[in-house]
Amino acid sequence: MREQLRREIERLKSLGATYVDARWYPFEEQNYLMMWNGNLKVTDASRESGVGVRVLYRGAWGFSASSDLSNLRALFDKAFDNARIAAERVTFPVRLAEKDALQASFESPCRIDPFEVPLEEKVAFLKAMDEKLNQPGVEQRTGDLNFIRKQIVFLDSEGSEIEKRITEVFARLRVSGRDEDGVSHVRTFTLGRRGETRGWESMDMEYFAEQAERIVREMNQVRTAEPCPKDDRAVILLPGIMYLQTHETIGHALELDRILGYELAYAGGSFVRLEDFGTLRYGSEKLTVRADATLPNSPGSFGYDDDGVPAQNNLLIDKGILVGAITGRQMVEEANARARRRIFEGSSGANRATAFYRVPIERMTNINIDPGTDGTLDDIVRNTERGIVLDGERSWSIGSNREQFHFAVEIGWLVEDGQISRVVKNATYKGDTLKFWNSLSAVGDESTWEVKFVDNCGKGQPNQVMQLGHGVPVCRFDNVRIGE
């Protein structure tokens, strides 16, 4: 197969293509189980395999994919045809940043392959969790497990040959119940990074049981709580919402394709302009953000991206100043040319596709915030006069240039004079992105820092759902509108 792919790549090169690559997925498997109120509603497994071919011709991309590998020649020809017609409407001819041609491989750390674990054991796990969640006050309880295993072989016309084997484990428990007005409230636990590996070993029964007990307790507190006041207060975001704040208002805003206008037809643009790199004060001095695809054991660490560029750890925001973006080989060249200065030294290795039948685009890796020096969560609460601690996403809606946002959360704890006073329900907060990050007044230490996994980040047309991570501490922001 590799030999055939290499031959086809060479053939298109000889026909005039400037660059060709092929991603062959010998397999991608998924196993998804979902239990709802004791009913195993979904017991799904899937398997797919195929090849996606990307061709650059006269500055334009063509792409084609198929699960039918019996006629590779036709598949490559189709991709080439698609590039030829795209070359009729080019405004900035695609150029690719330099890279080394690598022969390499990557395997995500996994101790117990979840696909080798019998279905009964997975079902028994869900059943045990369902019993833990089945408590007074809980009307709806769900548990879901999502396992992914894939092998990707990447070959390109520059001589790269990279093989990846990736295993992912995502798990979630959720409960909901109604208050006296019949309004539903939810509390969720989502598995993040634990330890050095992720496989079936992540499914630690004791740990999940503790989390199940906690979310039931907290949901019942919310159910019987007073509504969140409409107020301007300091908000203290726990990692369970801090990761999403980072994702939506830093991660997506710093994807270079968005900044250059490549997502305007759908997902939107970014308030960030090319002239902002190196000068824009994105946040307070306490804010240091990095795109770290070298973080051990996270879905945002994948060894090599789908341009064949090695994973990197790059600063995005340095003590509040914008310095970097999430980039692939194509966009950095265009950005440097448009800015008439060398903003980016090369690809940051963040071009990824969700499946063999989708084209790679700029995706977040692990977009992390460095831990700070403001102590533990208790320390931050103690140093807050009037605030609210928030956790768990319920709803998120962000302006099309990522310039403003509105989040609803699962739970809020009001803080008065350095003490947690009470739980509130229907907590929300909103703000303007830059104003918000510039109001960052406390960043928790290592003890507050957690790596959250994301399994459902959507972007692009056709849409691609991507897996990634966020390592974030507890953070406090001053003077934020809540309860609206």
């Binding site: 004791g38 195993l40 017991t43 799904d44 497994a45 899937s46 398997r47 797919e48 395999s49 334009a60 063509g62 792409f63 084609s64 994919a65 198929s66 699960s67 039918d68 019996s70 189709k78 045809d81 698609n82 590039a83 017609i85 795209a86 409407r89 080019v90 405004t91 900035f92 279905l119 009964e120 079902v123 059943k127 009307e139 709806q140 109604r178 019949g182 309004v183 539903s184 206008g261 490549y262 305007l264 037809a265 643009g269 039948y357 084209v359 709803s395 809606s397 962000i398 302006g399 099309s400 240039n401 403003q404 509105h406 229907n426 909103k430 047309q461 056709p462 849409n463 759902v465 609206e484």
Partner: protein, 461 residues
């Protein structure tokens, strides 16, 4: 294609029966083409030919599914898929109810939604459409973005209890064109939904874009003061609100789970404005309808709201099984939602702008990133985007920066609903997640809601 798929289903069904399995078998075949534009160039030109096969095995109260992307020639792989599902179901856990395996009453083949001409639109034609739609509107600074997505979608299924199969073949196209100013950052857009090639009308798209571009170039931008406005929604915004209602409104399963803003005791009551009538109408070809559901029930127009009176919940077979309800023919990949028009003789943007008015009107054609703040209160939030206009009482026009709206669907479609255009239009609501599933909602061309607060107002584009 049709004969091959039906024959393969027939062979696989026979295989499953010989093995003593209880299974349902489902093919999804798509031939998808997408030309994507950005920065006035073709940023991506792609096609996918994918065959998905799903086998769901049943064993009394147990159920398990296996899905694969495969090709029709590989019958052995398909059989292995069925074996895998059958093996999985042995280890599944019984449900608290017995899932129904429907007996399909007859072979049903529906190709009436398929237009060979639309399905086979070429690369050259997609490009020509766009070149016409934006002719003379692009400049160095005003750049084109958009998509031309079209394709053929086939769904075919049977099960071991049915001698018959059902087959649905649809063609569709979804077009979005955006013109944006690179430096000033404003954006306008127009869209089209096509079920036949004759639905394609690049000139109409051009006229709409040209009208908006003219105003965006000539009229002054403005940050709107927070407060209440009479807001006119365009079809994209209205369709998005209706789409959310489809999810957290009249869906029986969601209601039972506490994720609906409608309650069982509200059936038969006045819940929304007397101006609001909504029907699931599979006779409307523009909605890419299913005329049978996947249990073989013949789908007929199903009233959801009549003049604001809530007529009833919809039930898919599985939700009906679980909650002891009667299935309503809604075991489908999407509904065919049609919102009735009103009395207002305002059928185009030019007419809306020219209309005499006593108050300022905020025109919001598109709602970006809608999310559900609270499902049981029906509260949603989103920001305006793409071609909003402030139509002032004195007849002048300003270009508002984007604003955020956070409201309950009961407010928007309830007492504050002021008027609806008599003209209705289809708005394509297809997403490109996962398998192709063309959908469209038919909505009034304009819908006006009085006295809605804006809760956030941007200070620039």
């Amino acid at each position: 294609m049709k004969d091959r798929i039906l024959q393969t289903l027939h062979d696989l069904r026979r295989y499953a029966r010989e093995k003593g399995y209880e299974v349902s078998l489902f093919f999804h075949v798509e031939d998808s083409y997408l030309m994507r534009f950005a920065n006035s160039a073709i940023s991506l030109n792609t096609n996918e030919h994918l065959i998905r096969f799903e086998a769901t095995a049943y064993d009394g109260r147990k159920r398990a599914s296996y899905e694969m992307i495969t090709n029709l020639d590989d019958v052995e792989a398909l059989k292995t898929g069925i074996d895998t599902a059958a093996e999985m179901v042995e280890h599944a856990m019984p449900l608290t109810y017995e899932p129904t395996i429907p007996v399909l009453p007859e072979t049903f083949i529906d190709e009436s939604n398929w237009d060979a001409e639309l399905a086979s639109v070429s690369n050259e034609e997609r490009l020509a459409y766009f070149n016409t739609a934006v002719k003379g509107l692009e400049t160095e600074e005003i750049r084109l973005s958009g998509i031309f997505s079209n394709g053929t979608n086939v769904l075919a299924h049977t099960n071991t209890r049915s001698e018959h199969a059902q087959y649905f073949q649809t063609s569709d196209a979804q077009i979005t064109a955006v013109l944006s100013h690179e430096r000033l950052k404003w954006e306008v857009s127009a869209g089209q939904s096509a079920q036949r090639k004759t639905d394609l009308d690049p000139q109409a798209l051009r006229a709409e874009l040209a009208f908006l571009v003219k105003h965006y170039r000539e009229d002054p931008p403005q940050q709107l003061p927070l407060g209440n406005y009479d807001i006119v929604f365009g079809p994209a915004a209205t369709a998005d609100l209706v789409r959310i209602m489809n999810w957290i409104g009249f869906n029986g399963g969601m209601m039972k789970r506490g994720y609906s803003f409608l309650k069982e005791e509200e059936v038969g009551r006045q819940v929304l404005s007397p101006l609001f009538t909504l029907t699931d109408d599979p006779t409307r070809r523009e909605t890419f309808p299913f005329r049978r559901d996947f249990t073989g029930i013949e789908r007929k127009p199903f009233p959801l709201f009549e003049r604001g009176v809530f007529k009833g919940f919809i039930w898919s077979q599985d939700e009906a099984d679980e909650f002891g309800a009667q299935p309503t023919g809604h075991t489908v990949m999407h509904n065919s939602l049609v919102m009735a028009g009103g009395e207002m003789a305002v059928d185009s943007l030019e007419e809306l702008v020219a209309q005499r008015r006593e108050n300022d009107l905020l025109y919001v054609p598109f709602l970006h990133y809608m999310n559900i703040v609270n499902p049981s209160q029906g509260v949603v939030t989103a920001s305006s985007r793409f071609g909003a206009l402030l139509l002032k009482a004195d007849g002048s026009i300003a270009i508002p920066y984007n604003v955020r709206l956070t409201h309950s669907l009961k407010t928007i479609f309830g007492e504050n609903l002021a008027w609806l255009s008599r003209k209705t239009v289809p708005h394509n609501t297809s997403s490109s997640y996962g398998a192709r599933n063309p959908t469209a909602v038919i909505v009034p061309r304009f819908l006006c809601v009085n006295d809605l607060a804006i809760s956030h107002s941007n200070d620039s584009f």
